[in-house]
């Protein structure tokens, strides 16, 4: 991939080999520059940690996809070309439940929309040449964003993005293949409980997002909508309609805040960064930057926990 080739040349082209202090014993890879903030090897370590941990879970996707009746080729094409886990699981789940291809793809697409917002933040930080962006775009996902955003310098950000993206891409696709082959060898995947893999994956992706009342209420409303509509609407449609829980909750929260302005609108958020001066600001200000704040907290938290969710 062109962007890989270009970005991995950074260490050699800007390093100053003569001035290197002795690195940590046995420290691998490109020797650290004398930049005080963060040595390259530390960035690479962060990136590899996340990449390896999450890359292995491609196995769960391979098994689930094959168990849902997709062929080996279809399963591998999804991991190669979609490469954003939640969307992939959603697609095969919807197809297995008998949804038509359009509702199934719509659900997967809605889940993929968040990557556009990751891209926005990354593009300022990475400052990639325009020609590289179409290639780099394929790696704009939860994990690469989580590793890249907290990096102190552009160089560290580029290394973090590239190493996470490459590690995850390779492992995710290899483990998808192994999982799909394994499931085919097993035969009746339901007997092995493999139909439970997909809801378990969704729950594992969802859990770290449920940090505040807003998210929990949204999730609860979505579950109620999905289960209520499931018996009466064609497969796939209930899940799509459940997405309405998001605007409904936002609207209701906005109303609640508007009617009780000044009642300290922190909504019990779990993240703790930079809320010190919240109380002195108007309720409107508070709401204004909720999204951005949320995003940062989210990504930082995920990084801390070596988070899942591809």
């Amino acid at each position: 991939m062109p962007d890989v080739a270009e970005q991995t040349t950074f260490p050699e082209s800007t390093g100053t080999p003569g001035a290197l202090p002795a690195g940590p014993p046995g420290g691998p890879g490109p020797a650290a520059e004398e930049r005080p903030d963060k040595p390259d090897s530390a960035v690479v370590r962060d990136a590899l940690g996340v990449g390896v941990a999450v890359g292995l879970s491609g196995f769960a996707f391979g098994v689930t996809s094959a168990g849902s009746g997709l062929s080996l080729l279809q399963t591998c094409v999804l991991s190669l070309l979609v490469f954003t886990g939640a969307s992939q699981f959603a697609l095969v789940g919807a197809l297995a439940a008998g949804g038509n291809p359009y509702t199934a793809a719509a659900g997967a697409f809605f889940l993929g929309i968040r990557n556009a917002f990751y891209g926005l933040r990354l593009s300022q930080l990475l400052d990639l040449p325009r020609a590289v962006r179409p290639f780099a775009a394929h790696w704009v996902i939860d994990e690469s964003t989580a590793v890249t955003l907290p990096q102190p310098t552009r160089r560290a950000a580029r290394i973090g993005f590239t190493v996470t993206g490459l590690t995850l891409y390779v492992l995710w696709n290899l483990t998808t293949l192994v999982g799909a082959l394994g499931a085919e060898a097993l035969g009746d995947t339901d007997a092995w409980g493999l139909d439970a893999a997909s809801p378990a994956v969704f729950l594992a992706l969802l859990a770290p997002m449920l940090r505040s009342t807003v998210e929990r209420v949204t999730a609860a409303l979505a579950v109620m909508l999905a289960l209520t509509l499931l018996p009466v609407l064609p497969a796939g449609v209930p899940v799509l309609l459940s997405a309405l829980a998001a605007p409904v909750v936002l609207f209701l929260m906005g109303r609640a805040k508007g009617s009780s302005a000044g009642a300290g609108g922190d909504q019990g958020r779990g993240d703790s960064g930079g809320h010190g001066n919240r109380e002195s600001r108007g309720a409107d200000d508070d709401r204004e930057d909720y999204g951005a704040d949320e995003d940062r907290g989210n990504v930082a938290e995920r990084k801390k926990r070596g988070e899942r969710s591809v």
Binding site: G107, H138, A243, Y290
Partner: protein
Amino acid sequence: MNIWTAIGLTVVGCYLAKLVGLLVPAGVLERPLVQRMAALLPVALLAALTAQQTFGDGRQLVLDARAVGLGAAALALVLRAPFLVVVGAGVLVTAGVRALA
């Protein structure tokens, strides 16, 4: 053929979503309401998908081994188990319940 249609649409849609973020000028998607919606949409979808895949059987609601498996996965999550352990717990417990039933 239906499956390939769905795959094709998903490939194109998801790739464009990723690309758009890198290409559009900063500011266009930075409106607070848009950002909050983007953060909440996955929450709603994932919750709905979890429920549907656990309790749905075609167009019927059922309570079967998967619910027990999901409970095990939830317990693993509470114990901060790694991703694969969470999924493994869900699968193994579901299989166990089916084998006993």
